[in-house]
């Protein structure tokens, strides 16, 4: 564990921004703090940096308790939301700043800045001011500025939020590659699950100041630990009562279902398990590139499902039969994956492969 938080609490007046937050990030890992807006991600990041102090709890960096250590001594590079580049300094001076305050000789500063400019692919931009850069370029300069003094921990607050969607995707792959190449332990904050899934090794899901779950992206996806995670990750649709759906009769419980748990039988296909098929009506069809997103009315419930482009075409208003293979049922704070009863005895691998 390079960074460790132990039972951190932080309140702003009545708002409890962090409640008993505990987690660790391994050396060299790229971790994402993922959660909806206001869930306490920024507060956690700022406490690690020392820009805010926890009310209770310990923060350890490299095995050392840093609660009382000033931010500048924690060996941290911080990329602010909106970058906070020094707007009256050139790109060169921005990147050089952290080195200059350390009284590093000028020649060494110049070498280091050139090296970083090459790393971020902005050679020749030394004399520009931040206002003369695009969003993506600013992001890279902020990244270089944070990296200049060779921090052992890099913290990034919503690093991609202020750039447009296309650049964002490019940048997160770039960040992933860069962090991998430099081997610096990094934690970034995001509210976008795609961003977290695509860039991070480990995701820490926060909600209302609480850490809901920590794990690899695939783990969070397959085994959500709490109803919140089950609902937040993936395009989940909440269900008031899962027993309203065919094949899930039994103890009533709220739950959630994902589009990929549902299969629409092409018109004309009989289906092998007629007693676990739901009758549905096509409410809407959206072209999503590789597949169609079909909105279904199943009983009184509206569910999104996917439909392959190769299958016989559907139109709005069609009556179709659908198979719901599985769904999540929430029992208290636990999440239980329930299989369709009609499939019992069937090869469960088959169910997963759909």
């Amino acid at each position: 564990m390079y960074v460790e938080l132990r039972h951190i609490h932080k309140s702003f007046d009545a708002v409890r921004a962090a409640r008993d937050v505990s987690f660790g990030v391994d050396k060299g890992a790229l971790a994402a703090l993922l959660g909806p807006s206001g869930s306490g991600k920024t507060t956690i990041l700022r406490m690690i940096a020392g820009l805010q102090n926890p009310d209770y709890g310990d923060i350890l960096i490299d095995g050392l308790r840093v609660n009382d250590m000033p931010p500048s001594r924690r060996g941290i590079g911080f990329v602010f939301q909106n970058y906070a580049l020094f707007r009256y300094m050139t790109v060169f001076d921005n990147i050089a700043f952290g080195l200059e305050v350390r009284k590093i000789p000028r020649a060494a500063v110049r070498d280091r800045v050139s090296e970083l400019l090459a790393l971020i692919g902005l050679e020749g931009f030394e004399r520009r001011y931040p206002a003369q850069l695009s969003g993506g370029q600013k992001q890279r300069v902020a990244f270089a500025r944070a990296l200049a003094p060779n921090p052992s921990l890099l913290l990034l607050d919503e690093p991609f939020a202020a750039v447009d969607a296309k650049v964002r995707r490019e940048l997160r792959l770039w960040l992933r590659e860069m962090v991998g190449r430099l081997g610096v332990t990094s934690i970034f904050v995001t509210h976008d699950q795609d961003e977290a899934v695509e860039a991070a090794d480990t995701i820490i899901v926060t909600n209302q100041g609480v850490v809901e779950q920590l794990g690899r992206p695939a783990e969070l996806y397959k085994d959500p630990a709490t109803p919140f995670v089950a609902g937040f990750i993936g395009d989940s649709t909440p269900l008031d009562d899962v027993t309203a759906l065919k094949g899930f009769e039994g103890e009533a419980a709220p739950g959630a279902v994902r589009p990929e748990f549902i299969r629409i039988l092409p018109p004309g296909e009989v289906g092998q398990y007629p007693n676990c098929l739901e009758e549905a009506v096509v409410e809407g069809i959206l072209f999503r590139g590789a597949w169609l997103e079909v909105r279904l009315a199943v009983g009184g419930i509206s569910l999104p499902a996917r439909y392959p482009l190769e299958d016989p075409p559907l139109t709005v208003g069609d009556a179709v039969r659908v198979m719901i293979y599985r769904l999540y049922a929430f029992v208290g704070e636990r999440v239980i994956l329930r299989q369709n009863a009609g499939l019992r005895g069937m090869n469960s691998d088959y169910a997963y492969s759909i």
Partner: protein, 344 residues
Amino acid sequence: MASRLALGMGPNPSQASSPESPPHQGGVGAISGMKAGVSDHKGSSDEECGRSLPFRPGEAAPRRERGARGNPWVNGPLIAVSLAFILIMLIAPLAVVLVEAFSAGVSVYLDAVSDEYALRALVLTLKAASLAIAVNTLFGLTAAWAVTRYAFKGKSLLITVIDIPFSVSPVIAGLIFILTFGRMSWLHPWLDAFGISIVFDTPGIILATIFVTMPFVARELIPTLEARGTDEEQAAALMGAGFLTIFRRVTLPHIRWALIYGVILCSARALGEFGAVSVVSGRLRGKTNTLPLHVEILYNEYKFTAAFAVASLLATAALFILAARVAVEWRSRRAGGEDSGHVR
């Protein structure tokens, strides 16, 4: 509102309200308005920050164009009325001062200006003004820093208190000092014992000048600092920069023009202050007379030419200050256009 529009040329019109139109809650309102602005675009990029802020000088241009396309039958008379008003109220009096000053010839003018009492008044005025500028620059920086960088109890009270000199009549301000340090005050015996005299002496004049010019710098700086947020300073601190480095390299470049502008307004008022200084001065000729007081004395003694000659010194200073102000406004607007990322 009217004063905002009238002074719309300034980098911060709401802050530039003249003492003649006491801004009441204006300062506080403007500050909290800025606050709302800041939190609004917390999530937007730098450029957007600059654009969405109120009173951005660059915005004036498109508005003026739209006006110019309006009805010429309305525009013509409006422009004529404004010009006539400016001519009668501002330019004519200034011209009269200069004409009267030289009406008896250049040598009389020079005599009047180099008169011993006039020179002493000039020295005293410069002394009081430079001290007021120095003190209020320091105070303005400190207060603006405290108000915008820290959360503390009584913060909004402090913001209100800073404005008191603008809302109190200068004569009352002078009286405050007489009551605090004069013969009636319980401080007086104590001050007397140490041989300190404040009222009817130079210290009183300096104190009164400091008092009436106190808000200028702070009121220019507070909205500027407020609008800018603390991220850059935090970033610098996180990299290990000390207070002075942060101030010099990160904060100062941003507030430079606001600071200069505040100092200019402060100087103008310090040189010209009459009311408060008049009350504490006691008008001991050659001792506690400032230039504006000296002008009045000469005038009351029917030495009109001399009065106008001395007044012309103040008028000239005012013109220079005006020129400096225009230059700063022009420069800060240009800076605002160039590095668009910031407020002005």
